[in-house]
């Protein structure tokens, strides 16, 4: 019995120290990536290529989801606001929920499952097929040649995607609210404009999306780079990327929201 207890305590200790070690490795990894980013900026073509794969290829899902989320917000918001006779505040409701929360968060979640998983799978496969080792044997650092361009591409495209998501969502809300239901167009836009503040709402939303972009890309790259070089290893890492980055987005969102909107 005592032996069992010692065993489980020891295992707990091992698990904990494993987690801490991995975290330390992940931090060292991102620091190395940032330090070795020189090549990607000297040869911007590398980043452009990755921008195509992470950014452009995520466009469809982001735009379509943005439109639908906005349209649903339009319907739901109208029904709720109607009860208080303040349908004219529909624009405010749609815009604020998108710009502050849904834009960065939902776009981040979609980005994690579309681009993040692709990044992990790609890098994991490059590792499993010894492409990274081959690169190293050719005296080319995989961190600066493979990891850093993908990092910056993710970092750049996430805020742009989140902004497009929000803009598309507001358009969706406009379609449902103004075109379909017939809320007054003037009050829709003017109330929105008077309630949404550039610095408090829009800039904070952009800051959120930048943070999410950093986190998702970091997690995706690290999971790929650290994946066991087998088929199961890569598929497991891809799943972990989606799960970990989704949790990271939601956790960070809570943290950032409580920091940003404390005074209001």
């Amino acid at each position: 019995m005592a032996e069992r207890a010692v065993f489980s305590v020891r295992r707990l200790g091992h698990t904990t120290s494993d987690i801490v070690i991995r975290l330390g490795y992940a931090v060292r990894f991102i620091v190395l990536t940032l330090l070795h980013s020189g090549t990607s900026f000297r040869r911007f073509g590398l980043i452009i290529r990755e921008l195509y794969y992470t950014g452009v290829q995520s466009l469809i899902i982001i735009l379509v989801s943005g439109l639908f989320v906005g349209m649903v917000l339009g319907f739901q918001g109208y029904h709720t606001l109607q009860t208080y006779g303040s349908e004219s505040a529909l624009g405010v409701l749609v815009a604020l929920s998108l710009v502050r929360e849904l834009g960065p968060v939902v776009a981040g979640l979609l980005f994690a499952s579309r681009a993040g998983s692709a990044i992990t799978a790609e890098i994991g496969l490059m590792k499993a097929t010894e492409q990274l080792s081959a690169m190293e044997m050719m005296a080319v650092d995989p961190i600066s040649r493979v990891v850093a361009p993908r990092f910056w591409a993710g970092f750049i495209s996430m805020p742009l995607l989140a902004a497009m998501f929000s803009a598309m969502g507001i358009f969706g809300g406009y379609l449902v609210g103004v075109v379909l239901i017939g809320v007054d167009e003037g009050s829709f836009w003017s109330q929105m404009q008077s309630a949404v503040d550039f610095r408090e709402d829009i800039v904070n939303g952009v800051i959120k999306s930048v943070v999410f972009g950093f986190a998702v890309t970091w997690i995706a790259l690290f999971q790929g780079y650290d994946a066991p070089p087998t088929a199961e290893g890569v598929s497991g890492a891809t799943t972990r990327t989606v799960v970990t980055s989704s949790l990271a987005i939601l956790g960070l969102d809570f943290l950032l929201t409580s920091l940003m909107f404390r005074g209001i």
């Binding site: 073509g45 921008l51 742009l160 503040d197 550039f198």
Partner: protein, 156 residues
């Protein structure tokens, strides 16, 4: 894929993203114009500020001329001290009245400024002498009830 088509797509993507940001900034939000412009600060003491919040607008004749910076409690005079930032473009006489008003019946609260006749203008750090506190709905209702009761007494 051909290099130039790749560049084209990425270029379009970045333009669309920046375009979305610009739309959000200009069409959806208000840049309020005060954050960068020159401002001066004044303060006013109120017995009761009701639900006034920092960043609430300061209006004069319905035009937004500034914003509330903060509201603190002055424990020597036992009143609320409200500091506000006013756009440098707008000048107000020293004897301006500040009152806390409500937009609509249940709307947000704001400060309304009504200019007086003093030739000297307010400057940075001045305090408004004439203020009118927030209307508290409960007080209003009880006043109404008292006056109704008084009416009823006199009729008898």
């Amino acid at each position: 894929m051909q290099r130039s088509t790749l560049d084209l797509w990425v270029g379009l993507f970045v333009c669309a993203g920046i375009g979305a940001l610009v739309i959000l900034a200009l069409k959806v939000g208000n840049t309020s114009g005060f954050s960068a412009a020159a401002t001066y600060q004044i303060s006013a003491n109120f017995d009761n500020i009701g639900g006034l919040k920092p960043r609430a607008p300061v209006k004069s004749s319905g035009v937004v001329v500034g914003r509330v910076t903060e509201a603190t409690f002055d424990d020597t005079k036992f009143v609320a001290k409200v500091t506000m930032t006013i756009d440098q473009r707008y000048k107000f006489p020293k004897d301006t009245t500040a009152s806390i008003l409500t937009a609509g019946l249940l709307g947000e609260q704001y400060i309304g400024l009504v200019a007086g006749g003093d030739p000297a203008n307010l400057a940075q750090g001045d305090t408004l002498k004439l203020t009118q506190s927030a209307v508290v709905l409960e007080n209003l209702i009880s006043q109404f009830l008292y006056s109704k009761a008084a009416e009823g007494d006199s009729k008898k």
